[in-house]
């Protein structure tokens, strides 16, 4: 039954109201909770939103705004499912870290390739933004997934 798809529609939404530091978190959560395809779709939607709303030249380029975002959910899901057997919390933190890195490095990498930013500036941005983003993303991903699992086990199991 494909009705699980409708649930996806909700995941990208918190991005619309969030600030720049946590915009990519829904893609990570989508990838972790529903698999890499969902992660890719949520990431793509996030990319399209940020492309349409962009007010900075860098993000008005589809190659910078959309392309790297497709991979956030995919890499996050990959990290999560590779480490899940080891420990679920470790896997979640790893997924958030890998997903955030994909976003930061992907976008900055494309920005450098497309000539919007010199390499050394990009490295500074990657360090100053990347590290806080990883911490914030890990905490929020952890909090949301753990909270939702508790809600889910408390109620009847969701139909998927």
């Amino acid at each position: 039954m494909l009705l699980g798809w409708t649930r996806l529609g909700f995941i990208p939404v918190p991005t619309a109201a969030g600030n720049a530091t946590i915009m990519h978190v829904p893609a990570i959560i989508g990838g972790v909770m529903e698999g890499w395809i969902v992660g890719a779709i949520v990431g793509t939607l996030f990319g399209i939103f940020s492309f349409i709303n962009a007010v900075v030249p860098m993000f008005k380029d589809p190659l910078v705004a959309i392309l790297p975002r497709i991979f956030i959910g995919i890499t996050a899901a990959g990290a999560f499912f590779a480490l899940r057997r080891f420990h679920i919390l470790v896997a979640l933190v790893a997924a958030a870290t890998v997903g955030t890195l994909t976003n930061t490095l992907g976008v900055l990498g494309m920005a450098v390739i497309r000539g919007y930013m010199p390499l050394n500036v990009a490295i500074v941005v990657a360090v100053t933004h990347g590290i806080p983003e990883i911490v914030v993303a890990s905490i929020i991903t952890l909090a949301v997934v753990v909270a939702w699992r508790r809600v889910e086990t408390g109620r009847q199991k969701a139909k998927m």
């Binding site: 009705l3 619309a16 109201a17 930013m117 909090a143």
Partner: protein, 285 residues
């Protein structure tokens, strides 16, 4: 209390009603031409090509009747970033970029600041490309209601259903996402007020205390997600109760129809894009 008003800031391509030629085009035509012109803009490196594109898109904007001041109105808060990035490009990108159609030439050098005609071209071309893409996205989203866009997207993706792409479901996801943006923004406002009334410090942003920032955000995001998932479950249940079974054999309430004007627009768009891409290395500067 202004911090709590989120709905105002959420404008994902506000539709501006109108009756221009561009308003009347089929959404599929607009999407196709939009994609083609976006690609052309992404691959145009020279002054000439970007000037041609800028003129063409400006003509389309004038024809659509969208006020140009409206298009640029969202830019003001981002202006410092735009200027800062341009200055960075201008000062530090000199050696890394070979200019199009010119020999590399140093215009100004002082310490490690290095301005070449390449970096000047880079700055001007990226700004022109930015304006072109700004015009293009406005043309698409300000003249087409969001629902028409998703219907158009679904019908354009439907040929790929043969190879297993769930076109109907994808457009369903898109529609739901857009539908619930205002609802969830409202919900976020409620949560914000609820947490603030309990004394939560949601507005203060520590620059370096990012664990604090994350905890402040988590206080809002966790209930929001829980609420979003709960609403999603309810929606699934409601749809199942109404025997919704997905896309196969389903007819649509909205029927899109191609008119002669769509074929003309498509032909012009295609001819323009192909010429621009084919000619991209022939422009003098």
């Amino acid at each position: 209390l202004e911090d709590f008003e989120l709905l105002r800031h959420i404008t994902i391509g506000q539709y501006l009603p109108g009756d221009s030629i561009i308003h009347r085009l089929d959404p599929r035509t607009k999407l196709t031409v939009f994609l083609m012109l976006t690609l052309v803009a992404a691959f145009s490196l020279s002054y000439t090509a970007n000037a041609i594109l800028l003129t063409a898109t400006l003509g389309l904007v004038l024809a659509s009747g969208i006020p140009i001041s409206y298009i640029f109105s969202g830019l003001r808060p981002a202006l410092p970033f735009i200027v800062a990035l341009s200055v960075l490009q201008l000062l530090f990108y000199g050696d890394a970029y070979t200019p199009y159609g010119m020999a590399s030439q140093t215009l100004f050098q002082w310490g490690w600041i290095h301005v070449t005609n390449g970096s000047v071209q880079l700055v001007i071309v990226s700004l022109m490309r930015f304006v072109v893409l700004l015009f293009l996205t406005s043309l698409l989203t300000n003249t087409t209601p969001m629902n028409d866009l998703t219907h158009g997207m679904a019908s354009m993706l439907s040929p790929f259903q043969r190879v297993g792409l769930p076109a109907h479901e994808l457009s369903l996801v898109g529609t739901i996402a857009l539908r619930f943006v205002p609802l969830l923004a409202e919900q976020l406002e409620v949560i914000l007020k609820a947490q603030a009334s309990r004394g939560a410090d949601t507005a203060g942003r520590g620059r370096l205390r990012f664990v604090t920032t994350a905890r402040q955000a988590a206080v809002l995001i966790v209930p929001l997600f829980a609420d979003a998932f709960r609403r999603a479950e309810d929606l699934v249940l409601a749809m199942e109760a109404r025997c919704y079974t997905g896309g196969r054999g389903r007819s649509s309430y909205v029927r899109l129809r191609f008119g002669w004007i769509d074929y003309v627009a498509l032909a012009i768009g295609l001819a323009f894009s192909v010429t621009m891409v084919a000619m991209r290395n022939w422009f003098p500067v």
